[in-house]
C-alpha cells in the first residue's frame, strides 16, 4: 500500500514538474496572441507570473516539499513571493538596460522556470521528497 502511495506521489511530482516546464512556454505563446484576445492572454500569463517561477524555485530551496505539503500554505505563500521576486529582478534588469521587449522578458522567465523545474536534485533529496 505504501509502495502504491509512493508511486502515486512520484507520478504527481513528475506531473507538477512538467507542468511548470510547460507553463512558461504557454505564457510565451500567449504573448503572441492578437490584441483582441487580451483577456485570454491575461488568463494565461498572470498565473504563470504569480506562481510558476517561484514554484520551480521551491524545488531547489525546499526539496523536501515538492508538492506535498508539510506545508501547503507555506508552499503557496513562498511560490507567490519567490515568483514576484524573480519577476521583479528580471524586469529591473531589462529596465536598467533599456532593453525590454515582450518576447525577451517572457522568454527569460520561461527559460529560468524550465531550468529550475528540470534541475536534477541529488539522490538524498529525492528520497526525502514525497
Amino acid at each position: 500500500m505504501s509502495h502504491l502511495v509512493a508511486r502515486n506521489s512520484v507520478a504527481r511530482h513528475g506531473l507538477a514538474r512538467y507542468g511548470l516546464l510547460l507553463s512558461g512556454w504557454v505564457a510565451v505563446a500567449a504573448t503572441l496572441l492578437p490584441a483582441e484576445l487580451t483577456p485570454l492572454r491575461v488568463v494565461l500569463v498572470v498565473p504563470f507570473l504569480l506562481v510558476c517561477p517561484g514554484a520551480a524555485a521551491l524545488r531547489l530551496t525546499h526539496p523536501a516539499h515538492r508538492g506535498h505539503g508539510p506545508d501547503r500554505l507555506e508552499f503557496a505563500v513562498l511560490s507567490v513571493a519567490f515568483s514576484v521576486v524573480i519577476d521583479t529582478l528580471v524586469a529591473e534588469a531589462f529596465f536598467f538596460t533599456h532593453s525590454i521587449t515582450t518576447l525577451r522578458a517572457v522568454g527569460v522567465l520561461a527559460v529560468l522556470t524550465s531550468l529550475m523545474a528540470l534541475y536534477p536534485l541529488g539522490r538524498r533529496e529525492r528520497r526525502s521528497g514525497p
Binding site: A35, R41, L49, L73, V84, V85, A91, E92
Partner: protein
C-alpha cells in the same frame, strides 16, 4: 517597553499543540450548544456580506465631511461589521476551531473594510495611487529610467515595484495598471494573510491564537499603506522574509540555512532594497534585534550581513544621486525630534475639527495595541521566550532617526504590528501549555469582553482609515479636468496648483514641470494667503521655467486644505475668485469640481523668472506619504 524584555531563556521553539480535549460529558445540552454555534459560525459571513452590499446601495460619497466615510455609511454597514465580529468571536471561542471558517471571516472583514472604497468611488482612490500608475506608464513609455523626471526622480532610483508592474503590462498586453490598481487594496490585504500565517505558524501551532492574531492585525492596521504603492509591495515581502527567518529559527535541527534557500532570501532582499527606501532599513533594524540573542545569530547574521551589504551597494550606486542630494536633510532630521509632528501642528491653516478627534483616536488605537502587547509580555510569560518582543521592539526607535516626512511614527507602528497583534491575541485567546491543567471554556463575560475589545479596535480603525476620505477620493469630473490638461498641455509647460491632491496630474510627468505652492517657502505661502494672486505670481516667477503655464484648481485641493490645515480652507476658492478677475490668466476648462487656466500674459514684471531665487521645495512628502 524595553524594561519588560528579558533575554529568552530557551531556544525559540514553537509552542507545542495543545493535547486533545476530552469529550464533554454533558450530552444533549452540550450538543445543542455546539449545533447553535456551528449554525451561527456558518450563517454569519454570508448574512454580514449581504447586509454590507445592501448598505452600499445609497451611499452618497459627495456628502462626506471632515470625518470622511464615517458620515455617509448607513447603519446597515455598521450592523454588518458588528455581526461579523460577533460571529468571529463565537467561532474563536468554540471548543473546536473549524479549519475553513476563520479564513472566511478574515476575508469577509477585509472585503467589508477595504473593498468598500473600491465599490463606492468612481475613480482611483488616493492621489499617490494615481501617481504610481503614472510612473509605471512613464517607465514603460521610456523602456526604462524616465528622463527629466523632476521631483519624481526618486522612482528612477528605486524602480523595483514599477518595473514589476511594467513587466505585467508588457506581458499581458493591458494598456495601463489603472484597472487593477483600483482593486489593489482588498487584494493586497487578502495576500497579506499568507505571510502572516507563515510568521505566526512558526511561533505557535494553536490555530485559535493564530487566527485571533490575524484578525487583530487587520482590525488595527489603520495606517493605510496598502494601496497601489511600492511600500505595500515591500511590506508584503518584508513580512514573508521575516516569516522565513523566524521559521528557520524555530525549526528543529541545526540553525544552518540551506544554500539555495539563503540564495533566495538574498534575492528577496535585493528586491526589497531596490523597491523602497524605508523597508530595507526596517528590515535591517529588525534583523539586528533578532540577532541580539546569541542562539539566533547563526541563522540571522548571514541574512543581516547580506541586507547591509546590498543596502550599502544600492546607496552607493543606483540611489547615489538621491542620497547625495538629501544627506544633509537626513542628518538634520537626527537633531529634529519634533519633525514627526503632524500637518495640523505645522500647517498655516486650521484643520477640520473632526481631524483633531480622529488624530486622537488613531493615536489612541496605536497606544492601546502597544500597551496590550506590553501587558501580554508581562502576563503571558511564554511570549518572552519567542522572537515576538524583538519584532515588536525593533521598529520603535526609528522615529527618532528620521521623520520620513512626518510618517515614521506611523510606519514604525505598522512594522511592529505583526508582532504586537500576536501579543495582543495571547490576551484574548488563552493558550494551553504542556503540563497546564485543562483550560475551562470561556464564560460569557470573557466572550463579551473579547467582543468589546475587537469592536473597539475596529472602531479605532475606521476612524483612522476612513476619516480622511473627503480628500482621498476623486470625482469623475476632477479626472476629466486632468484628462483635458493632458490633451492640451504642450511639452515644456508648467502646471501650477495649490496642493498636489489632483488625480492623474503626473501623467507624462517627464514632459512638463510642476509647481505646488503648498511645498514652497513659508513666505510664498503666507503671501498666497494674504493676497492669492500675488502669491500665485510669485510662485510662477520663482519656480516656473520659461514656457506655457497652466493653473489647475479642483475639489481635492480644497478638501486637502480643509482636512489637513496645510493652508486655510478657503485658499483655493479665494485664489479661483482672484484669478477669475485677473487678466493674466484665462479659463480654458471648467466643470463643477475643477477649473483649468492658462497664463496668457507673462510680460507682467511680477511674473518674470527670478533666477537664483528659486528654491528647492522643502516640504515634498516622501514617497507614498499619507
Amino acid at each position: 517597553m524595553a524594561g519588560t524584555l528579558r533575554p529568552p531563556a530557551t531556544r525559540n521553539t514553537p509552542v507545542p499543540p495543545a493535547p486533545a480535549e476530552p469529550a464533554d460529558p454533558r450530552g444533549v445540552r452540550t450538543n445543542r450548544r455546539v449545533t447553535v454555534r456551528t449554525v451561527v459560525t456558518c450563517a454569519v459571513p454570508p448574512v454580514a456580506l449581504t447586509l454590507w452590499l445592501l448598505s452600499l446601495r445609497h451611499v452618497h460619497v459627495g456628502r462626506m465631511g471632515d470625518l470622511g466615510l464615517l458620515q455617509v455609511l448607513p447603519v446597515l454597514f455598521w450592523v454588518a461589521l458588528g455581526l461579523l465580529t460577533l460571529g468571529f468571536v463565537v467561532t474563536l471561542h468554540a471548543d473546536r476551531l473549524s479549519r475553513v471558517w476563520p479564513a472566511v471571516y478574515v476575508v469577509s472583514l477585509i472585503a467589508i473594510i477595504h473593498a468598500t472604497p473600491s465599490i463606492l468611488y468612481p475613480t482611483l482612490r488616493y492621489s499617490w495611487a494615481w501617481k504610481h500608475v503614472d510612473v509605471v506608464d512613464a517607465l514603460l513609455r521610456n523602456g526604462g529610467a524616465v528622463p527629466h523626471p523632476g521631483w519624481l526622480d526618486i522612482y528612477n532610483q528605486w524602480p523595483g515595484f514599477f518595473a514589476a508592474n511594467g513587466l505585467v503590462l508588457r506581458l499581458t498586453g493591458l494598456p495601463s495598471a489603472m484597472g487593477y490598481a483600483h482593486w489593489a487594496t482588498p487584494v493586497v490585504n487578502v495576500l497579506m494573510i499568507g505571510p502572516l500565517l507563515l510568521l505566526y505558524r512558526s511561533l505557535t501551532r494553536q490555530r485559535k491564537l493564530i487566527w485571533g492574531a490575524v484578525w487583530i492585525f487587520f482590525s488595527c492596521s489603520w495606517i493605510g499603506q496598502d494601496y497601489f504603492a511600492p511600500q505595500t509591495f515591500d511590506f508584503l515581502l518584508y513580512v514573508t522574509l521575516i516569516g522565513l527567518v523566524v521559521k528557520q529559527l524555530t525549526s528543529p535541527g541545526p540553525p544552518r540555512w540551506r544554500l539555495p534557500l539563503l540564495g533566495m532570501v538574498v534575492l528577496m532582499e535585493t528586491v526589497l532594497v531596490s523597491s523602497h527606501q524605508l523597508t530595507p532599513l526596517m528590515l535591517i533594524v529588525t534583523l539586528t534585534a533578532l540577532s541580539v540573542p546569541r542562539r539566533n545569530r547563526r541563522t540571522v547574521l548571514p541574512v543581516l550581513a547580506s541586507a547591509v551589504v546590498l543596502q550599502a551597494v544600492w546607496f552607493a550606486t543606483a540611489a547615489r544621486p538621491y542620497i547625495a542630494a538629501n544627506l544633509g536633510s537626513f542628518i538634520k532630521a537626527l537633531t529634529s525630534p519634533d519633525s514627526n509632528a503632524p500637518t495640523w501642528l505645522t500647517g498655516l491653516g486650521t484643520p477640520a475639527a473632526g481631524q483633531i478627534l480622529l488624530a486622537w483616536i488613531d493615536r489612541g488605537l496605536s497606544a492601546a495595541v502597544l500597551l496590550l502587547a506590553v501587558v501580554a509580555l508581562v502576563r503571558r510569560r511564554w511570549t518572552r521566550h519567542t522572537v515576538l518582543p524583538w519584532l515588536a521592539l525593533a521598529p520603535l526607535p526609528m522615529p527618532a532617526l528620521n521623520s520620513y516626512g512626518g510618517e515614521m511614527i506611523f510606519r514604525a507602528f505598522m512594522f511592529a504590528l505583526p508582532a504586537t497583534a500576536m501579543l495582543t491575541a495571547t490576551l484574548v485567546v488563552r493558550v494551553r501549555q504542556p503540563g497546564m491543567p485543562r483550560i475551562r471554556p470561556p464564560g460569557w463575560l470573557r466572550v463579551a469582553a473579547t467582543y468589546v475589545l475587537l469592536l473597539g479596535f475596529l472602531g479605532g480603525l475606521v476612524f483612522g482609515y476612513y476619516g480622511k476620505e473627503q480628500m482621498e477620493y476623486f470625482t469623475a469630473k476632477e479626472a476629466s479636468a486632468t484628462s483635458y490638461l493632458d490633451r492640451v498641455v504642450p511639452t515644456g509647460s508648467t502646471i501650477v496648483s495649490v496642493t498636489n491632491n489632483i488625480p492623474n496630474i503626473d501623467n507624462q510627468y517627464e514632459l512638463h514641470s510642476r509647481v505646488v505652492i503648498a511645498w514652497n517657502s513659508v513666505q510664498n505661502r503666507r503671501l498666497l494667503i494674504s493676497s492669492p494672486l500675488a502669491g500665485l505670481e510669485e510662485a510662477v516667477a520663482l519656480d516656473a521655467p520659461p514656457g506655457p503655464v497652466y493653473l489647475i484648481l479642483n475639489r481635492g485641493q480644497t478638501a486637502e486644505c480643509y482636512i489637513t490645515g496645510v493652508l486655510p480652507a478657503d485658499t483655493v476658492s479665494r485664489l479661483e475668485t482672484a484669478v477669475d478677475h485677473s487678466r493674466i490668466f484665462a479659463p480654458v476648462y471648467r466643470n463643477s469640481d475643477a477649473v483649468v487656466y492658462v497664463l496668457v500674459d507673462r510680460s507682467n514684471p511680477a511674473l518674470q523668472p527670478r533666477p537664483g531665487q528659486s528654491k528647492p521645495s522643502q516640504q515634498q512628502p516622501q514617497q507614498g506619504g499619507r
